[in-house]
């Protein structure tokens, strides 16, 4: 028996990874298949009709990073929200609340678990869609793409945590997902460049943080983006920072978890 002070959160992270790994058919393969279907349909319908980045990039190649990032974001959210919600509903959250885990440790383990799930699914989507646009392998700025993927998945992982703490039933989680997360990802430029939108919608898109995540991520693949990537990175990093503070404050307050 070896006692390592402060190592409890690593076990929680391990448990979070094991949880989705044990049902990987549903948590990894299913979203990869969904993304592949999007690609097949949209690229087939739109390849000849849509011009992006002034025609410098074929539509299918443009679409792939968007789908990858969308999968990263949605799965990061799904991981924390469904894990915590299931624990709350089954009552086994008590096993995590009884040990000496600090709010920061809970936050770190859950959000890192979500990031890993998001990145694994993202890699899976990339692996099956890159065949349709092999030129993407020559990424000019891979670290930019990685930075946006890490920050974006952290943001959605935190959001999933907040949503699951707040929700009293599964209904409310799926409402959060269907009425907030899905519209914001779909309207963020996954499927189009915002330059193709009328000025009003283009302006509105700039208030959508998901737009900066997708646009910045895409910059890593093409060296091209709708807005300068440094600005996007600042906005996304700022969102990640503020949301982390908020989530930590909620965990510290014990709201709905230790009432």
């Amino acid at each position: 028996m070896t006692r390592i002070a402060g190592a409890g959160w690593l076990t929680l992270l391990y448990k979070e990874l094991l949880r989705f790994w044990k049902v990987s058919f549903q948590t990894i393969l299913a979203p990869v298949l969904t993304a592949l279907l999007y690609l097949l349909i949209f690229s087939h319908v739109l390849e000849a009709n849509v011009s992006v980045f002034g025609g410098k990039v074929p539509y299918t190649a443009f679409l792939v990073p968007g789908l990858v990032m969308m999968s990263v974001l949605q799965n990061a959210f799904a991981n924390t929200s469904s894990s915590l919600m299931q624990s709350k509903m089954n009552g086994n959250l008590i096993f995590i609340l009884l040990p000496p885990l600090s709010p920061l440790e809970l936050f770190g383990a859950y959000v890192l678990g979500a990031m890993v799930r998001g990145l694994v699914v993202g890699l899976g989507v990339f692996a099956v869609t890159v065949f349709f646009a092999p030129s993407l392998l020559a990424m000019p700025h891979p670290f930019w793409a990685l930075a946006f993927a890490l920050l974006g998945s952290a943001i959605l992982g935190s959001l999933g945590l907040v949503a699951a703490i707040w929700a009293d039933k599964f209904d409310q989680i799926s409402a959060f997902q269907n009425f907030i997360i899905v519209p914001l990802t779909f309207l963020s430029g996954v499927f189009y460049s915002i330059h193709s939108l009328p000025p009003f919608w283009q302006g509105l898109s700039r208030f959508n943080p998901f737009f900066y995540m997708i646009d910045g991520f895409r910059y890593g693949f093409f060296g091209l983006s709708d807005v300068p990537p440094a600005g996007s990175l600042a906005i996304v990093a700022g969102c990640a920072f503020l949301l982390s503070l908020l989530t930590l404050a909620i965990l510290r307050s014990g709201w709905k978890l230790r009432n």
Binding site: M1, G8, L18, N92, P100, N259
Partner: protein
């Protein structure tokens, strides 16, 4: 000996319900302590405060001197809790469950102790079975095991034998008794009063969020020394009405101070022409003490009792 658990003036309100209303009590190291009370008395809320699952509105609680809020890491390391609800994580096997629970406490390589727990709880053959496939009694054993993975000096069991068969109850108590002998402090809530009578050295009784009695088992029993008559009849003689402890349809429980009083009761029954369908005489047990205290606390003056009893 030092103090294992110290609760000072803890109050907690949920909406309009005052679940805990100024509870104070102390449990010394090595004690086997019983926490009794009817449903809704606040037993589980008190345990939740100790475990950091619920925060007290006012008052403080300490485990081995560690405040459960201010010094929660040390407090939780010192405490093992067996929850009342039969909860489990359906993703894992029994062994995985115990290994993961050890890990949350920062414990690695806990194999030998986990093997010992599995053996004592008669779970060896189920070690690699998924939690979902276990029966209720088996799941209960795993919950006990999970509470023990970090060898906590203080163990709290919240109605651990509710819905558990006799055989398991016996083996569970054997194990808990051994832990107590090995120096662990045990706090137990139970609905089975004979269980508390057989196991606990000291007992606190809670009612409506207050401590209405707190004493050693012997003192509680002798405080209400006497006998109880279980009488099945149409009614009870008028003069004996005040001594009825409890009425269950046509069954009356009547308190006597000594055997000699029985004659008076029989005389009164004969005088009033009341036929006896059934009559039995019982020594005082914890159940009767419990009933007397609860009915006394139900009357006015409950608050006074609580303050007087709390230390």
């Amino acid at each position: 000996m030092s103090t294992a658990v110290e609760v000072v003036n803890v109050a907690r309100r949920f909406g309009s319900v005052q679940a805990l209303d100024g509870v104070s009590l102390t449990v010394e190291e090595g004690e086997f302590f019983g926490l009794l009370g009817p449903n809704g008395a606040g037993k589980t809320t008190l345990i939740s405060v100790l475990a950091g699952l619920t925060r007290a509105d006012t008052g403080t609680a300490r485990i081995l001197g560690h405040d459960v809020v201010g010094d929660y890491r040390a407090a939780r390391r010192a405490l093992g809790v067996v929850p009342q609800e039969l909860v489990f994580d359906p993703f894992f096997t029994v062994r995985e469950t115990l290994e993961i629970q050890s890990g949350y406490f920062g414990i690695r390589n806990n194999g030998p102790w986990i093997d010992e727990i599995l053996q004592h709880l008669d779970l060896v053959s189920k070690a690699d079975a998924n939690m979902r496939s276990l029966s209720g009694g088996m799941k209960r054993r795993v919950l006990v095991g999970q509470a023990l993975v970090h060898k906590p000096p203080v163990i709290v069991l919240d109605e651990p034998t509710a819905g558990v068969d006799v055989q398991l109850r016996q083996s569970l108590w054997k194990f808990i008794r051994k832990l107590n002998r090995d120096g662990h402090t045990i706090i137990l809530t139970t609905h089975y009063l004979e269980e508390a009578e057989a196991l606990c050295g000291r007992i606190a009784m809670l009612k409506a969020g207050r401590v209405v009695a707190l004493d050693t088992k012997q003192n509680l029993l002798s405080r209400f020394a006497g006998l109880t008559v279980r009488l099945v009849a149409d009614r009870v003689p008028a003069a004996w009405q005040p001594r009825v402890l409890r009425r269950d349809a046509g069954t009356f429980f009547i308190g006597l101070d000594r055997y000699g009083d029985l004659e008076g009761l029989l005389g009164a029954l004969r005088t009033e022409g009341i036929g006896i369908d059934e009559l039995a005489l019982q020594e005082t047990d914890l159940e009767h003490v419990f009933l007397r205290i609860m009915s006394a606390a139900g009357a006015a003056g409950a608050a006074g009792n609580a303050r007087g009893a709390a230390r």
